[in-house]
C-alpha cells in the first residue's frame, strides 16, 4: 500500500515552489488538479516521475531535458549564479510494507519522505543542439519517520524502495499520461507508434507483477535453479573414485600394514633373541678368558718372553762369542807359553841390555865411513887401510847385525808376551763371562720354561674356542645390527601405512556420506522438480483464474464507464474506428502460442476480435483505464493513480462514468483535468462528492498582461511560472481567475 501525502516541487521547469497534498481520505480519495492546456499538467506529472525515478523517467534525451525553471534561460533573466539552481521534488507517502510481493506486511503504515535534488549549472554549449546546462549532484534520499517522530534514512535507499513499491516498468500504470496508458491497448497515436510486442510486454508485466504471477515465474526459475544445483551437487558428491576401488585400496593397505606389523613383531622377537644370545656368548667369552687366565695377558707375557728371550739369546751369543774369543786371545797364548816366553826373554834380555841386540854400532860405523873419518881421527876411505878394515868390519857385522836384529825383535816379542801374560785379566774376564754365560743359560732356560708354560696355558685356553666364540660374537653383532636396521625401516614405514589407511577410511566414510548426500541431493532435486511442477500447475490454474477474474472485472468496469454511451460522447468519433458502443466485451487473454504473455482484447457484438488500431482513442483510453482499475482491484494494489488528461476525447456519459468509476475504484486517484473535463454538473457533483482535495494550476504566461493571448486575469508572478491554488472545479481566485469566470453561473470566488 502506498498513499501519497504530500508533493513538494521546487524549481522544476515552470514550478517555482508548489505543494500538493493529495487526498488520503478513503471516503473521498479523489484529488483533482485543474489546469488548462499548457498550464503545467504534464510538467507536474513529469516532476512526480522525476522525483520517483530520476532522469530515466524524463522524455526524449533526458540529458537535454531541462528540469530547472524556465527562468534559467538568460532571456528570462533568472539568476545564473556560479552555484547553479537546485531543483527539488519531495514526495511524502505512507506505506505499510505491503507490495506486489508481500500483499500484507502486517505492519502499520509508516510515513516516508522521498526527496530528489539536483543542481543545474550553466555551460557553454558546443553546438546549437547541445544543452547549455548540465546537471550535477543528483541525489535521492528516502527517510522514514519513526514512532517518536524522528526522521531516519531508510537502509535500502530510495531507488530500491520505490522499485519495490512502484516499479519502473509500471510507471505508466501509476503515474499515467493517459495517451501513454492507451499503450496497454495498442494502436499508438498520431505521434507515437508502439509495436504489438511492446504492448504485450507492458500488459504482461503489469499483470504478472500485480497479480503476483511473476512470483510464480521467479519461484519457478528459482526452484528450477535449485533443482539444477542439487543435480550438480549430486554429481560432484559422487567424485571420481568408486567406493569399491577405495575399499579395495583400503584392504590392500590394511593387509600391508598387518604384514608389516607382523614383520616388526618378528624382528623384535629376533632382536631379543639375538640380544640374549649375544649376552650368552659374551658371558661365555668372558668365562673362557677368565678360566684360562686371560688369554690376552698370556699373549702379552708370551710377547714379553719373546723379547726377553731374544735379548738373552743375543747376550748369550755375545757372551759365548766372547768366551770363544777368549780361546783365541793373545793373553791366553802368552799365559800358556809363559815358560817359553820367560826363558826366551831371560836369554835375550842381557844381550839387549848389553846392547848386543840389536847391533847398534853398525850404523855408527857406517856413519863414520860415510863421513870418511874415524873417531880417532883417521881418514876412512874406500881404498885406504882404515877404510878397508872398517868396510870388512861393516861387512862382518852386517850378518851378525841381521841376526842381532832378529834377536832384538824376538826380545821385544818375548817382552811383550811376558808383559801381556802378567797383565792379563783373561781369567777374570773369563770368569765374568762364564758367570754371565751361566746366568744367561739359566735365564734362557727359565724363559723357555716360561714360554712353555705360557704356551701350555694358551693351548689350554683353547684358542680356537675363543676364536669361534669371538666369531660367533661378531656374527651375532652383525645380525643384531642388521635386525635393528630392518626394524628401523619397518617402523619408519608403519606410520605412513597407518596414515594411508586412515586417509582411505576417511575417504570411504566421506564417500559414503557423499553418496548419501548425493542421494539426498537427488531426492531434493526430485522434490524441487516436483515443486516446479506444482508451481507450474498452480501458476497455470491461478493465472487462468486470476486472468478470468481480471477479465470479468475489467469487462464490468468497461461497461460501467461505457454505459449509456452514444456516438456524441466521443469527440474524436471517426467512422472507421470502433466506438465504445461497438465493443461488447473486453478483457485480458493469453496470447496464442505463449502461455505467459497477455494482451487486452476487445470483442465486437459478434464476438470478433477488434484490433487496437480499429478502436478510437477514447475507447482505448476507457479500455486501458478499465484494465488499470480492474488490475488494481484484483491485485488489491493500493496505490495512487496519477493521470493526466484522462478524460481527453471523452464527453457526455463516458466522461462522467469514467470520472466516477475512477474515483470509486482507484485507491488514490489524482487526476489532472482541464476545465472542459469538468464542465457538466455531474462531473462537478462527482468532484464535490468524491474529491478530498482540489487544486488549480495557472500558468502565468497566460496572464492577459503577459501579452501571449491568455485569459488569466491577474499576473500574480511574472515569468514562466505555473502557480498553484486550492480552487475547485467551479472556483476562482486571484491566482487562477480567468476572464468570464467571475460572471459565469455556478462559479464562486475562493477567498483562500
Amino acid at each position: 500500500m502506498l498513499i501519497l501525502q504530500r508533493i513538494e516541487i521546487e524549481n522544476f521547469v515552470c514550478f517555482d515552489n508548489i505543494v500538493v497534498e493529495p487526498s488520503s481520505d478513503p471516503e473521498r480519495p479523489l484529488t483533482v488538479i485543474r489546469a488548462e492546456n499548457g498550464s503545467g499538467k504534464t510538467t507536474f506529472l513529469r516532476a512526480l516521475r522525476w522525483g520517483m525515478y530520476g532522469d530515466p523517467s524524463l522524455p526524449g534525451k533526458a540529458a537535454s531535458f531541462p528540469v530547472h525553471p524556465a527562468g534559467w534561460r538568460t532571456d528570462t533573466g533568472i539568476e545564473t549564479g556560479a552555484a547553479g539552481i537546485e531543483t527539488r521534488v519531495a514526495i511524502e507517502f505512507t506505506a505499510d510494507g505491503s507490495s506486489r510481493h508481500y500483499a500484507d506486511s502486517g505492519n502499520s503504515a509508516m510515513l516516508y519522505r522521498l526527496e530528489r535534488t539536483v543542481t543545474t549549472k550553466a555551460v557553454q554549449a558546443s553546438t546549437e543542439d547541445d544543452p547549455d546546462f548540465r546537471r550535477i549532484g543528483e541525489r535521492a534520499t528516502l527517510m522514514f519517520r519513526a514512532l517518536d517522530g524522528t526522521w531516519s534514512h531508510h537502509e535500502h535507499g530510495a531507488d530500491a524502495v520505490i522499485g519495490e513499491l512502484l516499479p519502473w516498468d509500471l510507471r505508466d500504470f501509476f503515474v499515467m499520461d493517459a495517451d501513454e496508458a492507451a499503450d496497454f491497448v495498442g494502436g499508438g497515436s498520431e505521434n507515437k507508434t508502439i509495436s504489438r510486442h511492446e504492448v504485450q510486454q507492458k500488459t504482461t508485466f503489469a499483470i504478472s507483477s500485480l497479480l503476483g504471477i511473476d512470483v510464480f515465474k521467479s519461484g519457478h526459475k528459482r526452484v528450477e535453479s535449485i533443482a539444477r544445483d542439487f543435480s550438480r551437487n549430486a554429481t560432484k558428491a559422487i567424485g571420481d573414485k568408486t567406493l569399491t576401488s577405495l575399499d579395495e585400496e583400503l584392504q590392500e593397505t590394511r593387509t600391508q600394514r598387518q604384514e608389516l606389523e607382523a614383520k616388526i613383531a618378528q624382528e623384535r622377537t629376533r632382536q631379543t633373541e639375538l640380544a640374549d644370545r649375544l649376552e650368552e656368548v659374551e658371558e661365555q667369552l668372558e668365562a673362557s678368558l677368565r678360566e684360562s687366565g686371560a688369554h690376552d695377558d698370556l699373549q702379552k707375557r708370551l710377547s714379553s718372553n719373546r723379547v726377553q728371550s731374544e735379548d738373552a739369546l743375543k747376550r748369550h751369543k755375545d757372551c759365548a762369542a766372547r768366551l770363544g774369543g777368549a780361546l783365541q786371545a793373545s793373553e791366553l797364548w802368552a799365559s800358556l807359553a809363559a815358560s817359553a816366553v820367560n826363558q826366551t826373554y831371560a836369554h835375550l834380555k842381557p844381550l839387549y841390555d848389553q846392547g848386543q841386540i840389536p847391533a847398534s854400532h853398525l850404523p855408527f860405523v857406517k856413519g863414520l865411513m860415510e863421513s870418511g873419518e874415524c873417531v880417532c881421527g883417521q881418514t876412512l876411505l874406500d881404498d885406504n887401510e882404515y877404510g878397508i878394515k872398517v868396510k870388512e868390519q861393516i861387512s862382518n857385522a852386517t850378518d851378525e847385525a841381521a841376526r842381532a836384529g832378529y834377536l832384538a825383535e824376538l826380545h821385544d816379542a818375548a817382552r811383550s808376551l811376558r808383559q801381556e801374560s802378567r797383565d792379563s785379566t783373561w781369567n777374570e774376564r773369563r770368569e765374568t763371562d762364564e758367570a754371565e754365560f751361566s746366568e744367561l743359560e739359566l735365564k734362557l732356560s727359565d724363559l723357555r720354561t716360561e714360554k712353555k708354560d705360557i704356551s701350555i696355558k694358551l693351548d689350554a685356553i683353547n684358542d680356537s674356542n675363543i676364536h669361534s666364540i669371538r666369531d660367533e660374537q661378531a656374527a651375532l653383532k652383525q645380525q643384531y645390527e642388521s635386525c635393528l636396521s630392518a626394524l628401523g625401516r619397518h617402523e619408519d614405514r608403519l606410520p605412513d601405512l597407518k596414515q594411508q589407511e586412515d586417509s582411505l577410511s576417511k575417504a570411504i566414510t566421506q564417500r559414503q556420506r557423499n553418496e548419501l548426500a548425493a542421494a539426498d541431493h537427488r531426492a531434493c532435486e526430485r522434490l524441487s522438480r516436483f515443486v516446479v511442477e506444482i508451481l507450474d500447475r498452480a501458476y497455470a490454474t491461478i493465472e487462468q483464474q486470476q486472468v478470468r477474474e481480471l477479465t470479468e472485472r475489467m469487462n464490468r468496469l468497461f461497461h460501467q464507464m461505457a454505459a449509456n454511451v452514444s456516438d456524441d460522447d466521443f469527440e474524436d468519433f471517426l467512422p472507421n474506428k470502433a466506438t465504445l458502443r461497438m465493443i461488447s466485451q473486453v478483457g485480458v487473454r493469453q496470447i496464442e502460442g505463449s502461455a505467459d504473455k497477455f494482451e487486452i482484447f476487445a470483442l465486437n457484438s459478434r464476438g470478433r476480435y477488434m484490433p487496437p488500431v480499429q478502436i478510437n482513442g477514447a475507447s482505448r483510453r476507457v479500455l486501458a483505464l478499465s484494465f488499470v482499475l480492474a488490475l488494481c482491484i484484483e491485485s488489491q494494489t493500493r496505490a495512487p493513480l496519477i493521470a493526466d488528461s484522462l478524460l481527453n476525447f471523452m464527453s457526455g456519459s463516458v466522461r462522467r462514468n469514467t470520472l466516477r468509476a475512477t474515483s470509486e475504484h482507484a485507491t488514490q486517484p489524482i487526476l489532472l483535468l482541464t476545465g472542459a473535463d469538468l464542465e457538466s454538473p455531474t462531473e462537478v457533483e462527482t468532484v464535490a462528492e468524491r474529491a478530498g482535495a482540489t487544486y488549480t494550476l495557472t500558468g502565468q504566461w497566460d496572464a492577459i498582461e503577459a501579452g501571449s493571448g491568455g485569459d488569466v486575469v491577474n499576473w500574480t508572478q511574472q515569468g514562466q511560472v505555473s502557480l498553484l491554488c486550492g480552487c475547485g472545479p467551479r472556483q476562482y481566485c486571484r491566482v487562477c481567475e480567468r476572464t468570464g469566470q467571475a460572471d459565469a453561473p455556478g462559479w464562486t470566488e475562493n477567498p483562500n
Binding site: K317, Q343, A413, L417, E434
Partner: protein
Amino acid sequence: MAYFSQLLTQKAHTLRLPKDSIEQIQRLVRMHQSATVERAPFYRQLDFWAFCVATALAEDLDPREGPSSRWGAKITSTRDVEISEKLGDLLAVAAFHKLGPDHEGIDDPRQIIEVGNCLAGAGCPVVLEHMGSRDLRFTPLDKALTLAATLRTHTQLASA
C-alpha cells in the same frame, strides 16, 4: 811388532794338524759347520792349531817328531790366513825356545812354522783328549775354557 807375522806370511808355509784327528778337530771348528760357539768354540782351524801350540808350550811338551808332513794334514797356508801379530810373536818365541838360541833356523819362517806344526801336533792330542770328555754337563766351549784355565793356572804357578 808385526815383524814376525809379516815374516811368516811372506811365503806360503803349510800349517798342519794330525790327519787322524781332522774330523774331530773340524767338529770343534765353526768355520766348517753351522754350530754354536758352545759346540764349536774355535772359529778357525788356525785358532785350534794355535791353541794346540799354546797347550804344548804350557805342558812343555816336546814337539812331535817331524816332519809334520808325515803325520799332519794341511789345514791352511800362511798366505791364506791371517796370522795375528801376537801369534807370530808366539811362534817365533816358541821356535827360539825349542830350537835353541844357536840354531840357525830360529829366524827361518819355515822352521818356525814347522816347530809350530810339531808343537800343534804335540798339543792336539791333549786338547782332543780333554775335549773328548763325555761329561755332558759341559759343552766343548766349557771344556776348552776349562783346559785353558787349568793350563794357565799351572803355568802361572810354575812361573811363580
